[in-house]
Symmetry: C2
Subunit: 240 residues, 2 copies
DNA sequence: TTGACTTAGTGTCAATTAAAAAATAATTTT
DNA sequence: AAAATTATTTTTTAATTGACACTAAGTCAA
């Protein structure tokens, strides 16, 4: 890919020698269950953060984009691909990494905790889900990265139909509302929430209902991605 | 800043040698006048882009963050600091740079074309403002970078009071409306535009009016940043 | 099987906000 | 002083949002 004339390679070598910089990705992997929003973390083994947890990340390889690196990290740890992922922000403070200059690109992704068996399948004994509200500190600047990604997630949740990516393929309206309330930290009016959703026309009933609940079962819905894209909706708002 | 134990430096050296990657910043510097939205460009002297224009950018130095690098680039070229700037996105395609692996962090910034004499002050004979609508191709992947930044600018223009940063400190309501119409590519109703703005209460009249116009002079306003922040408005919307 | 319990699901009205549209006032030029 | 140009204000109407309470459906246990 690079021109291989001597003086040009020299220029690039000069850059590399003079501006020694490593580039990494860090993934804020959000999951959700009825107890709240969670992030997938791993114990850090690098001094001085031996007792801290850290986000999942890695150095960006020479033959991949940062997006590919982020997907690689996610796949290696969870066995999941085809996952929603969004680049958020670069963090490049000079002292953010104890070993030297490491510039990191942060991503967040949304995965369904229930219905995925990756916790068993992969070499993941050290991975753990931690409730967002219980995370007070992390290794490196990962707490700041997580908070930044959480803010971005909240903003996107208000404007785009991504909440479904944290739920099973089929869900009840109550589950969806609870997700919004938990992630955004607000209370929503049940009737207004349903009116807004039915007006958007992006949810389709499956025809089935909940089973094995000791009360009136709720109808099940799924998100119709195709119809959403056809109708060319440029985002929406859940109005706080 | 880095721990200086031998084996640790070895690790970092390995990274540097194995994953040789340069990091740069590219700035999409937006300016505005009555003919439309413009971007500040410079001729590219690197093969195979000798006849193309490119964005302003540079390698990130070892002793600065990417934000600082972007501000440095802007200051060096225009003599301006204290400029609104926003990080947008990382571009890391493998073939984006002909000399090898260069990952770039893109920024956009908003400056006032009129009332700044930087074009005279600095070594800027080769810099040129180019109308956004007339830019069909640029060196490297800079066209894609510009388009991405333009989309981000438009989104922010709808949600935050940043339009003023493209206008002189004092301006008429008509000027402001025209700016919105030109940047967003929409027509706005004059009466509704004014009502919306007056309801936001972020513009203050200077008491003065236009001079040297051959018709009724319009009143001049300025944006009251202090009051905006005090009133703690979390963005607004110009509703398309 | 009936009654108590639990969660699902539904509609109206008031208030606010957004949209559309027309007339008047200020200033310069002729 | 009359005409032309542009600035500014107000009213009416439609759409959206927010507040609010009861009935329906199904389970479980007596």
């Amino acid at each position: 890919m690079a021109k291989t004339e001597g003086n040009i390679n020299t220029w690039l070598d000069q850059i590399h020698n003079k501006y020694k910089t490593a580039v990494s990705v860090d993934c804020v992997i959000f999951g959700y269950d009825e107890t709240g929003l969670k992030v997938l973390l791993i114990p850090c083994d690098m001094p001085p953060f031996e007792n801290k947890l850290s986000l999942l990340g890695d150095i960006v390889h020479p033959n991949e984009t940062t997006d590919q690196a982020a997907h690689r990290v996610l796949y290696k740890r969870t066995g999941l691909d085809d996952i929603y992922m969004e680049q958020v922000q670069v963090f490049s403070d000079l002292n953010r990494h104890p070993l030297g200059r490491v510039i990191t690109v942060s991503y967040y992704s949304l995965i369904k905790i229930n219905g995925n068996s990756f916790m068993e399948l992969k070499d993941n004994h050290s991975l753990q889900w931690k409730n967002v509200s219980e995370i007070n500190e992390l290794a490196f600047d990962h707490k700041i990265i997580m908070d930044t990604c959480l803010e971005r997630l909240r903003k996107n949740l208000r404007e785009h139909p991504i909440g479904f990516k944290l739920l099973p393929p089929v869900f009840t309206l109550q589950q969806l509302q609870t997700l919004y309330e938990m992630v955004l930290g607000v209370e929503l009016d049940k009737r207004n929430f349903r009116r807004k959703l039915s007006h958007l026309q992006i949810l389709k009933p499956t025809g089935d209902s909940q089973k094995d609940v000791s009360h009136r079962p709720a109808k099940l819905y799924y998100f119709d991605q195709m119809e959403y894209e056809e109708r060319n909706i440029n985002g929406f708002s859940f109005g706080l």
